[in-house]
């Protein structure tokens, strides 16, 4: 048991942090938000040239801590709100392709993903909130050479930038997903305007044709690779939220150490100091929980999906609390556009909702049939053995 980064991981963190500090000052975030896509392309190109976009997609058995490395990267991205589609495109999209598609399509897509030449936008939602693999309107019917997809996917981020959409749809064999060319005939994007400047679109699919080899998991599959990719995205996004929460906490602490009212720095008042102490504790907890989920994922543990849901639930709630607290500690300033906190406050909500909020992910832990996963206590990597004996 050792809950701190090893030397290699610390070095990785330093490298990522240095990059983010240099490449992503506030002005970059604001330019991206105002619709300047060149900012994203430039960052994406640099990340590709550093080899960061291939993390988790190498299939190299030796790289046992890939998900942990992805989280280290995502935590640093989250600290500066790096405006790139890393989690949806690489962690979710890339992994779905990695696990779900057959050669030669698989290698072709993965190579262009790693080279930064391709973006995948997952299109999974049909209602206002994330609902797993559940498809209500979108369906895929078999044709001679492949499938035809019809339906409406909602709130698809980066849909206009993407080369492919990863569309979930109901098939004769249950829910599955398809890698669809973004320029396919019959695919129409309707831009939406959200508070965090997210590039969100409703995507209408009308008789969109896809080749048979673009179905995840082969002719009868899809559920497995898609679930696995979503779980990884939850963990990565949790790391991103932990990074964001750390950043807003640090900003609040810095402010509380400088701002003087009633003749004292406000951080010396318990009404300010104690909530910050609670928040620091929960940030530490969320970070540990996220990395444990990543570590279990890297080892293919059966409890990894449970931990992904737990991490996403905890980090989502924490990020909201931390941005809210930080805005509050900043007083009137926290409400002003000149203050950094507004960026985090506005953007944190979409992160909280993506792949399900706290309530949704908690509902996966326990339910009528014992929840979606194995019962707690089974395959817990280091938990106390459950014994029959009770006092």
């Amino acid at each position: 048991m050792d809950l701190s980064f090893n030397e290699e991981q610390s070095l990785l963190r330093d490298t990522f942090r240095e990059f983010m500090g240099k490449e992503c000052p506030r002005e970059v975030v604001e330019r991206a938000e105002s619709g300047d896509l060149s900012v994203t392309s430039e960052l994406w190109r640099k990340m590709a040239s550093l080899g960061w976009l291939g993390l988790g997609l190498s299939g190299d058995e030796e790289s046992t801590d890939e998900m942990v490395s992805i989280c280290i990267l995502c935590e640093e991205m989250g600290r500066v709100l790096l405006p790139v589609p890393y989690v949806p495109s690489v962690v979710l999209g890339g992994r779905a392709v990695f696990e779900g598609l057959a050669e030669p399509v698989r290698s072709r897509i993965l190579q262009s993903l790693e080279a930064g030449e391709c973006i995948i936008a997952p299109a999974l939602m049909e209602r206002n909130r994330f609902d797993g693999l559940r498809c209500r309107t979108c369906s895929a019917s078999r044709t001679e050479g492949g499938y035809t997809i019809d339906g409406l996917k909602r709130f698809v981020e980066w849909a206009d930038t993407a080369d492919y959409l990863l569309v979930s749809a109901l098939t004769a064999e249950g829910p599955s997903a398809f890698l669809v060319h973004a320029k396919s005939p019959g695919l129409v994007l309707n831009p939406l305007d959200a508070i965090g400047g997210e590039r969100l679109f409703d995507v209408n699919l009308s008789e969109v044709s896809v080749d048979a080899e673009c179905r995840l998991g082969g002719p009868n599959g899809g559920k497995g690779p898609l679930n696995s990719a979503i779980d990884r995205a939850k963990v990565a996004l949790s790391a991103q939220m932990v990074g964001g929460a750390s950043a807003v906490l640090e900003k609040a602490v810095a402010y509380a150490r400088e701002r003087v009212q009633f003749g004292k720095t406000i951080g010396s008042f318990q009404g300010i100091a104690f909530p910050l102490a609670d928040c620091a504790t929960e940030v530490t907890g969320a970070r540990l929980l996220t990395y444990k989920a990543a570590w279990l994922t890297d080892r293919g543990s059966a409890s990894a999906p449970r931990f992904a849901a737990m991490a996403k639930a905890y980090a989502s709630d924490l990020y909201r609390k931390a941005t809210d607290l930080s805005a509050h500690v900043h007083g009137g300033l926290g409400f002003m556009m000149e203050c950094d906190i507004q960026l985090y406050y506005r953007k944190s909500k979409a992160a909280e909702l993506a792949y399900g909020d706290g309530k949704y992910n908690r509902s996966l832990l326990f339910g009528p049939n014992g929840g979606s996963f194995a019962s707690p206590g089974e395959d817990r990597a280091n938990d106390l053995a459950k014994s029959g004996a009770k006092v």
Partner: protein, 387 residues
């Protein structure tokens, strides 16, 4: 990063578990539970058995019979004992006092205390809290006045666990009333059979007993002083650091409670209620985080750090979680959860009501929630008064 116990730690856990699950030991435990108080419960029989295995001196310095256990191994010990509700308050106190004597005691005191303490022949209590000195412990007013080779002790201590059974008490008393309050305190290991010591009971929720000790002109030889005169605050702080691993017990006890609760709710079909499920999932998550904060502290201790902030985080988070859990569980179980062990219809052998009744102690004992928040704010975040 590594989130798994190593082979030796797993082996130790099996060894500890075997003891906890031993039929005869379970029988003793059940008898103790029938008497009511788990927390302050003490069984000489169990205590002796633990001592035979060397468990009292696990982390003492090796030259005094200690087994040199690492912080990781100590956490495994505390987790396992707490999960199985072994009454180890006496063991924690003996281990703590033994360590303090080994590090700071006179040679005479070491010879008198250490062999008997590690053999499980002695019980100890902590004489810290006073009616007017709780969180502000340094405000204590119990006096120890020098008189030749002796000190004469006058004052009152309260809320001491095991005070009625202990042979010795680790006493914090003021030896220099002129000095600033943290610099005038000394520590003594006071034999409680000394003349002038009166011990009387104070009863707690959860059918427990703590004690009040009144000292009237109690004479204690200076060999019983621990550390230098007026250096008590320093020793006290050090002593706190030696027992940080036992924080893990709080979360492990919660884990055991939740495991039992989940089984019960499944059996009774209550896990089809989405509100109950949300609560369970929250408890599950919060306990996992408590566990991780404990191990974060433990691994830092193992590297030789002095993780003051991380220790405060672990204590703060575990105890606040348990406090909420005790109440939340009763909301799920309804009136049946209020039934005492032995009552018709009691659930979980009365653990549910016990967890609820003990909650107010957990967030106060060993440093209150607000003291922890203060430590994190000052030491971890640098939020001290200025300007």
């Amino acid at each position: 990063m590594d989130f798994e116990l190593d082979e030796r730690q797993k082996e130790l856990r099996r060894e500890f578990e075997e003891f906890c699950l031993d039929e005869d030991n379970r029988r003793i435990l059940a008898e103790l539970a029938d008497e009511g108080d788990y927390y302050n419960a003490h069984s000489w029989e169990l205590f002796k058995k633990m001592a035979e295995r060397g468990w009292i001196s696990l982390n003492w310095p090796v030259e005094y019979g200690g087994r040199g256990y690492t912080p990781e191994e100590m956490t495994v010990f505390h987790e396992t004992m707490a999960y199985h509700r072994m009454p180890i308050i006496a063991l924690i106190l003996s281990s703590l006092v033994g360590n303090v004597v080994a590090y700071f005691g006179s040679d005479a005191l070491k010879a008198e205390i250490l062999p008997r303490a590690s053999a499980g022949e002695l019980l100890f209590c902590l004489l810290y809290t006073e009616p007017d000195a709780g969180s502000d412990l340094a405000a204590l007013t119990t006096r120890a006045e020098e008189d030749g080779d002796y000190y004469v002790v006058n004052g009152t201590k309260i809320y001491t666990s095991l005070g009625h059974l202990a042979n010795y008490g680790l006493l914090a008393a003021r030896t220099n009333p002129e000095a600033p309050k943290r610099q005038g305190i000394s520590l003594f290991l006071l034999p409680l059979d000394s003349e002038g010591v009166t011990v009387s009971p104070i009863y707690t929720m959860g059918d427990g007993r703590v004690n009040e000790e009144v000292f009237t002109d109690v004479r204690v030889h200076r060999d019983y002083m621990i550390g230098e005169k007026d250096s008590g605050w320093f020793v006290l702080t050090m002593a706190l650091g030696l027992e940080r691993g036992s924080i893990a017990g709080v979360a492990a006890q919660g884990r055991a409670f939740l495991d039992g609760l989940i089984d019960l709710l499944r059996e009774t079909g209550m896990t089809s209620d989405p509100v109950v499920c949300q609560s369970l999932a929250e408890m599950e998550t919060v306990l996992e985080v408590s566990d991780l904060l404990n191990w974060n502290l433990t691994t830092l201790l193992g590297k030789g750090d002095v993780p003051i902030t991380e220790a405060a985080m672990a204590k703060l988070y575990s105890s606040e979680s348990m406090r909420r859990m005790g109440s939340e569980a009763l909301n799920m179980l309804g009136f049946a959860g209020l039934l005492r062990r032995g009552s018709p219809g009691a659930l979980l052998e009365g653990l549910s009501e016990y967890q609820y009744q003990m909650a107010p102690m957990i967030s106060i004992g060993a440093g209150s929630t607000e003291i922890m928040q203060g430590i994190i704010a000052r030491t971890g975040l640098g939020l001290a008064a200025k300007g």
